[in-house]
């Protein structure tokens, strides 16, 4: 504080000592007005054997503290946004937006870029008017306000959430030429909240309890059944996301987090948990989110998002621009636990090399990997394949389709192929 104040007074004295004249003011105004050109000029001077420009922002202070009480990204990052496929669904209220994985670093997804999947839009919930009810096969039916829930000891855990439909369009064949659309129904946050088992202990589970129903307060009253074992294992009633309260799009003020399980089971805007002895057979666990097999039979309660990985650079949105050494990087994750290994192939899966896993390697969280590569303009077929701590190996499209055909739609965790062309551009392709 003392240093800051001294610095401040120094600036003040400098300003007051300097005798601004017309010329000085003109220069100041010119610099301000031409500020947007600074970048271009700087770019130009960096390209040649010229002195480096001292840009306007180095000469004149920008806005002071408190200018943006809630900070927003630089305007130069305006392309790092969620995107939608306007033709994909009947209405925006029941649709999905995709996370720009191609532009993100590390393993945490900024809360404002977490993918969205809503069944009837985003409810505008006043937390003071919201309670979580727990009833059914319990000794003591209870309701909890947000304030009640925040009295419990909180836990914070980093977990990915992936929509069961992530990559669904690709199961028929390569469709969309962008990582954001092939894999962007995937995000990873630090979730903070109360372990569900604590709340169930308050209510007292009856011995007959086998299944729970979680229901949202949205206009779909979106509801899903899940087994009591998960509730007593790592289920979390989350109110925090990446250090702040949940975003409205992510369930504000409460969402169920079932680590590693398909996104739809992580019920947002959670208002009610009922305890019972069998699943409720809700629409979103029968008519949808069931995996139709070639025989006409369907797999149900396919909760776990099995091990999967994808190269995030290069990718269609991030072509190769420089020949020579390239760091190939990507993300791997498993709903069963930790990522144990990621292999990368540059020849379409004929030969593989283990990539380096970059920490932290957390259970049911995104894990970043990288591998060095030399690119000299050759065409290449890039793939990544992960193995999780259970030994499960991410399958190829051939292996996935051999069992599931092309219409199971959900839980497509097949190996992605990026074709690098001679000009460095990258395409989403499938091999056969």
């Amino acid at each position: 504080m003392a240093v800051f104040c001294a610095h401040g007074s120094l600036v003040m004295s400098k300003l007051s000592d300097s005798k601004p004249n017309r010329r000085g003011r003109r220069r100041f105004l010119r610099a301000s007005l031409l500020g947007s050109l600074g970048a271009a000029l700087t770019g130009k001077s960096m390209a040649g054997d010229q002195p480096l420009e001292v840009p306007s922002w180095t000469r004149h202070p920008g806005p002071g503290v408190g200018n943006t009480p809630y900070g927003v990204p630089s305007p130069f990052e305006k392309n790092v946004v969620r995107r939608i496929l306007p033709w994909m669904s009947a209405s925006r209220e029941s649709s999905v937006s995709f996370t720009p994985l191609q532009d993100l670093h590390g393993i945490i997804t900024p809360s404002g870029l977490h993918f969205e999947r809503h069944h009837a839009g985003v409810p505008a919930i006043d937390p003071a008017a919201h309670v979580l009810a727990i009833h059914g096969m319990v000794e003591r039916p209870l309701k909890f306000t947000l304030e009640d829930l925040q009295r419990f000891p909180a836990v914070s855990r980093v977990h990915f959430i992936e929509c069961a439909g992530n990559g669904a369009l690709e199961q028929h064949g390569a469709q969309l030429n962008g990582l954001q659309f092939t894999h962007g129904m995937l995000s990873c946050s630090e979730w903070t909240g109360v372990p569900l088992k604590l709340l169930l202990a308050e209510a007292g589970l009856r011995p007959t309890a086998k299944w729970l129903l979680a229901e949202g307060a949205d206009a779909a009253a979106m509801a899903r059944s899940f087994p009591v074992d998960k509730a007593l294992d790592d289920a979390l009633i989350a109110y925090g996301q990446n250090g702040e309260m949940l975003r409205p799009e992510q369930g504000y003020p409460l969402r169920l987090v079932l680590p590693g399980w398909e996104g739809v089971a992580n019920v947002k805007w959670l208002r009610r948990i009922e305890v019972g002895d069998r699943p409720w057979e809700m629409r979103e666990e029968t008519a949808t989110y069931t995996d139709l097999l070639p025989s006409g039979k369907a797999r149900q309660f396919t909760f776990v998002q099995e091990a999967k990985s994808v190269i995030t650079s290069p990718c269609p949105e991030k072509p190769l621009r420089h020949k020579g050494p390239v760091i190939v990087t990507g993300l791997a994750w498993s709903g069963e636990g930790r990522v144990k290994r990621v292999d990368v192939s540059f020849d379409g899966g004929r030969n593989w090399q283990p990539a380096k896993l970059k920490g932290p390697i957390l259970s049911k969280a995104l894990t970043r990997f990288e591998i060095p590569w030399e690119w000299h303009g050759q065409e290449a077929l890039l793939q990544s394949r992960t193995i999780d701590e259970t030994g499960y190996v991410q399958p190829s499209y051939q292996q996935l389709r051999a069992l599931r055909g092309t219409n199971s739609m959900y839980h497509n965790n097949a190996i992605q192929t990026w074709q690098v062309r001679a000009n460095g551009e990258v395409d989403n392709v499938q091999l056969g």
Partner: protein, 212 residues
């Protein structure tokens, strides 16, 4: 502190300790006593779910004939006059034949395993944009109408809390509960016998920035 006071304090501490250990013995987690009791009235106002056995179905009844006008007024704009679906809104009409082949469709008639799910979903989420506005009689009538469209119940069938759970959906036995991973792949490292010919290429990057 008098000896009487000491006795009371001691007794309270003892009672507290007993309650604590008693709770811990019954379950894994301690109890904090946070939250408040949820009354029967409160439960019944929110407890809208209906199970496959019919648990949760309220009194009331309806027939397809009673549901027709309501369906045309509140449902047909999205689902089509005959349940065929408009645009990308879901079709309600179909058979199990649409579950195999190149282009599959999952409809109420062809895919849904339980009739109770239809009642539950209409009641909780329909009509889209005005959810939880229908009376139990109206939901029974709409359920009957959609099932009759699919020729699963007769036009004059009366659906209520007893008859609805007894409706047998054509695709009832075609769901298999997943038990662990279905695919067992191996991690070949060198000279793997895999096809490397490009047989499919993404046609487009076709997204819009949200808010555009």
């Amino acid at each position: 502190m008098s000896s009487w006071d000491k006795l009371v304090v001691h007794g309270l501490l003892l009672a507290g300790a007993m309650a604590w250990t008693g709770v811990l013995a019954a379950g894994e987690s301690p109890r904090y006593g946070f939250g408040s009791a949820l009354s029967e009235t409160e439960i019944s106002s929110w407890d809208i779910d209906v199970g496959p056995d019919g648990a949760g179905l309220p009194p009331g009844s309806g027939t397809a004939a009673q549901g027709e006008a309501l369906y045309l007024a509140q449902c047909a704009a999205c689902h089509g006059e005959f349940g065929e679906g408009v645009g990308r809104y879901p079709a309600l009409l179909g058979t199990r034949a649409s579950l195999v082949g190149e282009r599959t469709r999952k409809t109420v008639g062809g895919y849904w395993p339980y009739a109770t799910t239809l009642w539950d979903y209409i009641n909780r989420a329909m009509p889209f944009g005005n959810a939880q506005s229908l009376s139990p009689d109206q939901v029974y009538a709409l359920t009957a109408y959609v099932l009759a469209l699919n020729e699963i119940v007769a036009e004059d069938a009366v659906l209520d809390a007893h008859t609805l759970p007894a409706v047998r959906m054509p695709n009832r036995d075609c769901f298999v509960v997943a038990k662990g991973p279905d695919i067992k792949a191996a991690a070949c490292m060198h000279d793997c016998a895999v096809p490397v010919k490009v047989v499919g290429r993404a046609a487009r990057l076709d997204g819009a920035t949200v808010g555009e």
